[in-house]
Structure formats: structure tokens, C-alpha cells
């Protein structure tokens, strides 16, 4: 059972959002593909802990975040490299670099563990931001459930598109048909190294934003705000995050 519910939300919440987000949230407490439930809940807790980190504030203010050394204010449950990834992704995502990625993935976390970690972090970001936005308290982090991870490595990976390997759309397979229905936009490929992580992320994305087919259907409004209003909000948030994509 999820610790997130919108039954008492201060404003009306669409049914698909009220159904999807508790599912996404509950998965944080379940064993993942490569990470245990304990690791996943610890990642979520560390993501929420970043706000008060002095090192992150100092790096954010620096010309280069890579020029400032120090120790993060952390909860002590995760390896140092994992903590640094979480803190940088939370506090200054627009200034991550490929060299930094290569360094961290050669010193204590594999690319597939990295992708799953990112999936947990962005689930926390999405759901906490949504709850704050509507004026509802953020949910408690779910308890870690028993069980072991269920490893899954997709076949036919592309290692040239991004820093992380991604599911190659040029091969026909069930995962390609699931994740690239009509389009293999790069953002849809980003988390596909860990299919369960990609699946959970897009469950959140399709309900909070729009499905791919709805994005370009300008003749129909699917939300209580218009396409133009949606894209304006998206653009402003991405600008604040210094996101080039």
C-alpha cells in the first residue's frame, strides 16, 4: 500500500494522476532491478536531505561545481559516490558533465545502478514538487519491502547516443514497441537501460504532462490548461534548471 494518496487533496486531482503517482511512489519501497529496497529508500531519503547541504550551496554558487571539494551533509546510509550523484543531480543538474559521469561510474556504481538511482531521484523530485504545488504535504518514504532485485538487461543497446547505454530503436523487439510507440525521441530512450525504471518514469510523465500523441494534437485540449500554457510552464521550469534539452 502506498503512503501517497490524493483522497484529501486540496484541489481536484485527475483520476489518472491519483492512480499513477501512488504506484510510482510505492515502487520506491520495493526491490528494484539492480538495487535493493533498502538502497532505493535510502536514495529517496538522501534526495530529500540535499536541501540543507552546505557543500551543494557552495558548488551552486561557484563558477564551476567541480572546483569545490568538501563533504556533503548526508544521512550516512549510502556510499560516498552515490551521495555525490544524488546531491549534484538534485542541486545543480544543468552542470553535470560526461567526464564526471565517467569518473563516478568507474568508482563505485555501474551504469545500470546509476540509471536506477536516477529513476528513484526523479520520482522523488516529480512527486514532491507536485505535492508542494497543490498544497499537500509530501508523502512519507515507503518502508523497504523484503525481497531481492530482479535483474534485467535489455538486448540491443546503443552505447553512442548518450552517456548511458540506451535501448536501440533500430531493432524490433517488445521493449522497443513498448517504449518507442511511434517515436524514439532521445528523452524516451534515456532510462531504457533499466526497463522497469523507464516504465515507472513514463507512468508518471504521461499523467502529469501529456502522452506523445497528445503533445502535438493542438486541436484538442487534454488538460484544464492549454497546450500553450503547458509548454510555457515547461519552458520556464527547464530554463530555471538550465536544461538545454
Amino acid at each position: 500500500m502506498s503512503t501517497l494518496s490524493f483522497e484529501a487533496a486540496p484541489v481536484p486531482i485527475r483520476d489518472e494522476v491519483a492512480a499513477a503517482l501512488p504506484n510510482v511512489w510505492a515502487r520506491i519501497g520495493e526491490p528494484g532491478t539492480w538495487l535493493t529496497a533498502e538502497q532505493r529508500t535510502a536514495i529517496a531519503a538522501e534526495a530529500r536531505n540535499v536541501a540543507g547541504c552546505a557543500l551543494c550551496a557552495e558548488r551552486k554558487a561557484a563558477i564551476s561545481p567541480f572546483a569545490v571539494d568538501g563533504e556533503h551533509n548526508h544521512l550516512g546510509a549510502l556510499p560516498e559516490v552515490w551521495v555525490d550523484i544524488i546531491h549534484r543531480v538534485m542541486s545543480d543538474p544543468g552542470r553535470l558533465s560526461e567526464r564526471w559521469f565517467r569518473e563516478v561510474t568507474s568508482s563505485g556504481i555501474s551504469p545500470r545502478e546509476y540509471v536506477e538511482l536516477i529513476g528513484v531521484v526523479v520520482s522523488v523530485v516529480g512527486i514532491d514538487t507536485f505535492c508542494r504545488g497543490i498544497g499537500q504535504d509530501a508523502p512519507e518514504i515507503p518502508d523497504a519491502q523484503d525481497g531481492a532485485p530482479s535483474p534485467e538487461t535489455p538486448e540491443h543497446l546503443n552505447i553512442e547516443l548518450a552517456w548511458v547505454p540506451t535501448l536501440d530503436p533500430d531493432h524490433d523487439g517488445p521493449l522497443q514497441r513498448e517504449f518507442y510507440p511511434g517515436s524514439a525521441a532521445h528523452i524516451r530512450r534515456a532510462l531504457t537501460l533499466v526497463p522497469a525504471t523507464a516504465r515507472s518514469f513514463w507512468e508518471m510523465a504521461n499523467t502529469l504532462y501529456l502522452r506523445g500523441d497528445q503533445m502535438r494534437d493542438f486541436g484538442t485540449e487534454y488538460r484544464a490548461i492549454s497546450h500553450a500554457q503547458i509548454e510555457m510552464i515547461a519552458g520556464r521550469v527547464s530554463a530555471l534548471n538550465q536544461c538545454l534539452y
Binding site: T129, L161, H186, A190, I233, C243, L244
Partner: protein, 119 residues
């Protein structure tokens, strides 16, 4: 890019600089000012500012609009981190179509971070 496409579909001429710091009131998009203030507050760290921004959206557009605006702000606060942490590049066709707009708005400067030379 989709904002521009939306304007082209509706025949409206939206001021894209609303994305990067203008109040939004001159963008041509209804309720742009309250929505942009809400978007900034939703991803910011000032609870009082967010309370005021939330109330302004509800007053102008209603609770369902607030929930959908919160959803978009939340999703892009997350998806920006997906893009930045996985190093996915902008598609060539999108880069080509938006080259002038990105240059005009200064978006091309995003992510330009000097790294110290390795010892």
C-alpha cells in the same frame, strides 16, 4: 519548440522570451503572469511565495488548472534531471529547427561549465 508550434496552430504570436524571465504578461498567453510565477515558486524554496502563487492561480483559473499546472512543473523539474544526468543530446532536427530561437533566448549557453584540468 512546442510552444511555438502551438502558437502557429492557433494563429497566435507568442513571445517566447516569456520563458526566460519576463513576467509573461506580454506573451500573448492567457494568465501567463500567474502561471509563470506559480511555476517558479513550485520549483523554488519559498513556501510563502508558493502559497501566494497557488492562491493566484486558483483565483484566476480554478483548482483543476492549479493541479495541471503543478503537474507540468513537477514533471519538468524531474525530466530535466533525466536529460541532464543521462547525457542525452538534443535531436539533430530539433536542434536545427530551434537554432535561431535558442540563440535569441541564450539557451545555448546552458550547461557551459568550466571543469578544472585533471591533476
Amino acid at each position: 519548440m512546442l510552444l511555438r508550434a502551438s502558437g502557429e496552430h492557433s494563429g497566435d504570436d507568442y513571445d517566447l522570451s516569456a520563458l526566460l524571465g519576463k513576467s509573461g504578461d506580454e506573451s500573448g498567453i492567457p494568465n501567463a503572469g500567474v502561471l509563470l510565477e506559480f511555476a517558479e515558486a513550485a520549483v523554488g524554496a519559498d513556501p510563502a511565495r508558493l502559497d501566494a502563487a497557488r492562491a493566484a492561480v486558483i483565483e484566476a483559473m480554478g483548482g483543476e488548472a492549479l493541479a495541471d499546472a503543478a503537474g507540468v512543473a513537477a514533471l519538468f523539474n524531474a525530466i530535466d534531471r533525466v536529460a541532464d544526468s543521462t547525457g542525452i543530446p538534443l535531436e539533430d532536427d530539433k536542434a536545427e529547427m530551434t537554432e535561431g530561437m535558442r540563440d535569441q533566448l541564450g539557451i545555448n549557453a546552458f550547461g557551459e561549465t568550466p571543469e578544472p584540468a585533471k591533476a
